[in-house]
Assembly symmetry: C2
């Protein structure tokens, strides 16, 4: 990691943020939405103003070289990037501040921290980039069951260790941030092509631990499929799975740790499957009368076996909000890419599928079409969006997103019930009409991954309760309609109540038993996924 | 299931088998290979001649309607279809005969059998079609730790319960055999397209429990990816995962049971992702100077993102043995299929990849090209092959197969060391030069799944030891070269020593803990995957 340090409040590094023009665009949409000229805005406390508890633990001399209890480090590791995180940070609530932040430089130091944390009865929270939007990195510790909170920041285990160009795979350290990872692969002509919205401020280990969703709209939707083998440090020792392109030897060991959200161990390294850098691209933007027309086109494309790299649709309001359309039409951003061959046949057939469902294409011009038009506008908004929350929250605006997946037969019902339940909850919780929009982020032959965004005008002093009421109503509707509480944001602490309803109790029992075996003292990320 | 009953010894149903012409072709190859006019052939005992121990358990009246201790049922559930299974059955060794075979008709009856077996301290062996080639269904019980052996045959939980044509998925009972499954899907215009060699005599639940490898050479190589949700009966109760096209909510519950080989529970039902019936096909057969040339072409195709449904290569000897070529050339059978679009662009690019590596194509004529020429010859040999063992074993011939997967960078070394080690072991164990051939069954961007066949002239009275010596040498070489002990045949009991070396000990500990939770009495398929 280079450059300025990460913000303790907000997205990215200190000094970064939206330009005045961008802020004005984003706020303008809210002014119009809620018929307000301005919003009552409160001040976020500066780092120096925060009141942090005296650390409840001091690392021994043997760990001192890579551990700290400095104000900045503790504050910057208290929260992830969820809406309630922003609110509590804005209110100066740092009750969950870790006592110690460790920056181990190798596996031996990870093990040493685990041993020490275990000995003093502390919790241990694995921390990648800290971009969790579901309470995945907050050390919520009561001081009784866990006597202190230690956070393990993986940033010093960074780098591409080895590239196997023949098999197109690389051995990469768990703490490697997205940009550093791609930078190191570039000279080899390969790329992981895993670009979650958090790409700049998240790590390989974090992606794997949370089953992160990435660049590819179809086929390789999650990081899961790129994992060739894992190395994991647990409190019981270190394990490594075999590098294999495929296997049928027992239940997949990798899959037990993919999505384990830091409760079973820390992913120190992984062999990852890579892609060639794309040489051929075919892109198009399409307009549809309504979301469900676009959804039927997506279904046709998904079931055709064409595997677009991008096949995202935006409902009319979402297209308007992000500037991708002037309103009243649903948008599809469609793209194919290949490092090997031209994609005319693929695109031609996909466009036929779209036309069958009322899609009209604006064919893209030139090779950088994915950077132009609605596609480019939406792409840019997508990357910049996380910067908005640091000023929207102090303005009393509640904006959040949640995502799910559902089979096609139940999608329209799920969409309508979630939208209605969330809109109703916004009105009831805030007294003002809000907005709920939908897009698809990933698609499968048997169903889409719908992604919802909601906007509400909150009230200072009640933001947390208002957000919780909306979140609860949306999640209840989602689970009742048959969806998954998360498609790629992970479970963390925020989704636990619904994850518990979704997950079969006997699987929870099996997972708890596995955790008990690997983490007998229950120190790893307590409260996430299971209660040990 | 209709028609004649399954053989207690041999492949398929009573009355089935190779024609005189097929037998003569197969035996002719062995006569030539070992320069013999005939082989000393011993007689396999008839069902009536078998000596079976008196059953050590009698089911209570409440279970009597679907349980039996009849001679045929017990004998037909003693073994799978591995080479040592054939030898022991031929020698009349039925020491592992189950005491009771249960044919439950619903989940309640499965649970009732589990309760009873637990109460009397019996083992319980889940049984699909019994086609295991690695000791997966044999109740190897000592009478002390487990006081009796009960086998649970799932054939009565058969049928397609529901088809969701919109999402292209179906709810299917675990005991459904391949042909019945496809027959029921046909009127809906869909197909599971999972065609393992055992297709006719294996079940959906068995495929899932063993991570069966199927029809598609790329992309959907295992049954794993077709699983949308599972219902599992465990000794602790029944669980069901949610029907989802994708999810990021914690470690995949399905993946813990996919490949669990009956040690965690019994798969009673599954929602499976389906394919459209193919309307378009493009097929070709290609010749290459040698296996490694063909392998480099396969690598190029696999890394091009073209996803052929078939991309199998046969080394020169394998091509000769199966009649696919006259000798001296490696063969590639290449095919694309789609229910949606013509495949000219796909095939054209794949043929370019092959030409780059010395492949010369004989383009196929007409739409049923996959049934003609080398492709058709090989396909037919593939389907008929399992019938050969029932007469090759009594002729004292040792023929067996094993498969693995390896990354491309290590493939050539793995191939050469395995071939050399296996050939050496054959010579040492039998005194005669044998033969080891190789083909690819499935391919990945990061490596192939090589499949080896070996032929040896054994000696009656020593067949088991000879086979074990060869198997051990081959497996040792495979594990040392970095492969997986099984790509799609499963682990069972035969692969345990090498699976134990391949699998990280901490994963074994986690799996053991999960089993302890779901199967506290350790009754389910003891000895498979883990020692509880």
């Amino acid at each position: 990691m280079t450059g300025a340090r990460l913000k303790h409040y907000g997205w990215g590094r200190e000094g970064e943020g939206m330009s005045a023009e961008e802020r004005s665009f984003v706020l303008g949409r809210y002014h119009a939405k809620f018929a307000r000229d301005e919003f009552e805005t409160i001040k976020v406390p500066r780092l120096e103003e925060l009141v942090l508890r005296t650390p409840r633990a001091v690392p021994p001399a043997s760990l001192a070289a890579f551990c700290t209890s400095e104000r900045y480090d503790r504050a910057a590791h208290t929260y992830g990037k969820s809406y309630p995180d922003y609110v509590r940070a804005m209110l100066g609530d740092y009750d969950c501040v870790p006592d110690v932040v460790a920056y181990p430089r190798n596996e031996a130091e990870i093990s040493a921290v685990m041993d020490w944390a275990g000995d003093i009865g502390a919790s241990l929270t694995p921390f990648g980039g800290g971009s969790s939007v579901c309470g995945g990195v907050e050390p919520r510790v009561d001081g009784i069951k866990h006597k202190a909170a230690v956070t393990l920041d993986m940033r010093n285990l960074s780098g591409v260790v080895e590239v196997d160009s023949v098999s197109r795979a690389a051995l990469i350290e768990g703490g490697t941030y997205g940009p550093a990872l791609e930078e190191a692969l570039k000279p080899h002509g390969v790329t992981l092509r895993h670009f979650p919205q958090s790409f700049e401020y998240s790590t390989l280990g974090g992606w794997i631990a949370t089953r992160s969703g990435g660049h590819f709209a179809s086929l390789y939707t999650h990081i899961d499929d790129f994992v060739e083998s894992l190395r994991i440090v647990t409190p019981r020792g270190t394990m490594e799975t075999r590098r294999l392109p495929g296997s049928g030897a027992g239940p997949s060991a990798d899959r037990l740790f993919i999505g384990s959200e830091g409760v079973l161990g820390v992913i120190s390294r992984a062999w990852m499957r890579l892609q060639p850098r794309p040489k051929f691209r075919a892109s198009a933007s399409l307009r549809f009368p309504a979301l469900f027309d676009a959804a039927r086109a997506v279904r046709a494309v998904a079931q055709a076996g064409l595997y677009p790299s991008n096949c995202r649709i935006l409902d009319p309001q979402e297209a308007f909000n992000t500037g991708a359309a002037e309103g009243g039409v649903a948008i599809m951003v469609l793209a194919f890419e290949s490092g090997d061959h031209p994609l005319d046949a693929w695109m031609a057939r996909a466009l036929e599928c779209c036309a069958d469902h009322g899609g009209t294409a604006e064919p893209a011009k030139g090779g950088d079409a994915h950077l132009q038009g609605p596609a480019g506008l939406w792409r840019n908004a997508f990357i910049r969006m996380p910067y908005a929350r640091e000023f929207l929250t102090p303005a009393g605006l509640i904006n959040d997103t949640f995502e799910t997946a559902i089979t096609w037969d139940r999608f329209e019902n799920l969409h309508d019930t979630i939208k209605a339940a969330t809109e109703r909850a916004i009105l009831e919780a805030t007294g003002f009409k809000g907005e709920v929009t939908c897009r698809f982020t990933h698609i499968y032959p048997d169903g889409p991954a719908p992604y919802f965004t909601f906007h509400a005008l909150g009230r200072h002093g009640a933001l947390l309760e208002q957000w919780q009421a909306i979140k609860t109503a949306a999640s209840d509707a989602l689970i009742a309609a048959g969806g998954t509480i998360t498609h790629h944001h992970a479970v963390g602490r925020d989704h636990r109540p619904w994850y518990d309803r979704q997950r079969p109790p006997l699987f929870a029992a099996a997972l708890r038993a596995a955790k008990q075996e690997l983490d007998p003292r229950g120190m790893l990320n307590p409260g996430v996924l299971i209660d040990p």
